[in-house]
Symmetry: none
Subunit: 235 residues, 3 copies
Amino acid sequence: MSVKSYVVYLQNSAVALLTVFGLCVRLSLTVQVGLSNKVLVFPYETDFSFVALVPQKELELRAFTLCMRVATELPEERQIILFAYRTADYDELNVWREKDGRVSFYLRGDGVFFHLPPLTTFRTSLCLTWDSHTGLSAFWVEGKRSTYQVYKPGHTIRPKGSILLGQDPDKHLGDLEAIQSFVGEMTDLNMWDFVLSKSAIHAWNNGHQVPKGNIFDWATIEYELHGNVMVVDDD
Amino acid sequence: MSVKSYVVYLQNSAVALLTVFGLCVRLSLTVQVGLSNKVLVFPYETDFSFVALVPQKELELRAFTLCMRVATELPEERQIILFAYRTADYDELNVWREKDGRVSFYLRGDGVFFHLPPLTTFRTSLCLTWDSHTGLSAFWVEGKRSTYQVYKPGHTIRPKGSILLGQDPDKHLGDLEAIQSFVGEMTDLNMWDFVLSKSAIHAWNNGHQVPKGNIFDWATIEYELHGNVMVVDDD
Amino acid sequence: MSVKSYVVYLQNSAVALLTVFGLCVRLSLTVQVGLSNKVLVFPYETDFSFVALVPQKELELRAFTLCMRVATELPEERQIILFAYRTADYDELNVWREKDGRVSFYLRGDGVFFHLPPLTTFRTSLCLTWDSHTGLSAFWVEGKRSTYQVYKPGHTIRPKGSILLGQDPDKHLGDLEAIQSFVGEMTDLNMWDFVLSKSAIHAWNNGHQVPKGNIFDWATIEYELHGNVMVVDDD
């Protein structure tokens, strides 16, 4: 992810950076490392606040597990982007809370929708697994698996895109919309290039030891903060 | 249950069998045995996907306990067949999730309806007990008993029918309707020709040892897959 | 808080004091001390029943933690005052259950709103933390933190006001409204002039030992009962 790519954002976010939260909000074109025991707080609805993540390896994926803990005060009928991975022309892997309250994910094209308990002001522990071989996909809420749905068997997620938290870029790092932005807290985001076992997801949910994420590992994650995003102690 | 009986289905399901799920979907006129640690996944709404079960003994019953774990993404107002046992002219024992969200069962004729917590994308542990002597019937959700209802005391369920998961046959193995079909997951189906004690149902709910089902025992159950039904590891 | 200030209330509450709860309702202009293992019961909707609290130190605050356990049968759409601290001209710190069910607090002016689980007939353990330095504010329900909201960073709560439970004074100890009054039970109210750690709030929630509140400590709290408020054993 080049420095150049973010210049467009800097113009938008310049005002936002002059804030009373000087202690917490940082303008950073430099990659920072590690969020152990930290929470990302997106305090307001904006079209310029996001966190760019640098993966440990390219997202050329035929299977994955994505986990995070997320909390939001946004109303139930509000669309919310939870994770966005985009290559130049395609949304490769987007996770949404939809307007109708369902949680969904999209691999290039039409998505698949799940009825989960609503996201609330309290932290929800959320994992998503998908395996191209069978197409079996499921969300895991507090370690409990949703009903499997069969989605895009045979599909491959393509590499060399950008990963954003907080905003949905409608083109490669552009066209952000406040109305889709994330407001609330995210922590403990981890990602693996395989499907974790049920017992490993239970362990992760309970804060126990699991294999470190080989795409993202929260403790050593590389990230860049843009706009109004605070990094606070998990307390 | 004769092979001949299924020929009518083969015509309907021939297309479905040519699918990308070749690995999981099997065309089988041969009875398979045992589903220990396996889940049946009914991924789509169809009028041709079902699992036929072969009981260990005839269902000539004056009492029974039927248990299963079930999960579905189907909307609340959708009727869903959960278990169908039919002789030539009658639905002998059908279990439904009704359009109004109640769960019901029918022994030849009018049914009896229970207000239970909704079936969701997460697995619900569901048992049903009925005793002809008293007519006492109840559903048990996660080991908790519903209020008893008195239903058809003196009645006997008749033998020599067919048992289907996933579809409701309106005649003996015919007239399937997609709009009543099951979509989701079923596992751990067990059936006894007597009423299990409360403590036994609690034990079953918690995955502890109970008397093996003498009509159906999931670990050794005989079954035939038809149409798009996947057998996947319980993970 | 002068004796003179309450004369206006005595006229209103004189009738109320002649009640069947004579044993429990006390007319007291004298400050009483300590509510260990006691619950305050506000049995009816009134515009004259309240409890005035005398703090151990002035509420000149740039941070605080306020905890209480609260139960109410009031309908969800009813506004309820949960805590009121008012100086001559301003509501310095008010905590409300709003008409729309959200829980809110106000520091001189516009408030901040949280979607929490509804208050019910069962006791809810509720804490509120706020830190002027960052503006980070949150409610804690049964020890679980809500999503942080950033609210009035840099603000200072001013000293020398009056603290009331049960009523919202629209001027310094005047203009009470039955329709905003509290009906139900309150107990274990404690307040600190700093933000308790997550582990301390968990401990408090579970009834374990925590640093004694240095503004209010339920075991040694100084209070005055007015109108129909009962002090009963927490049984």
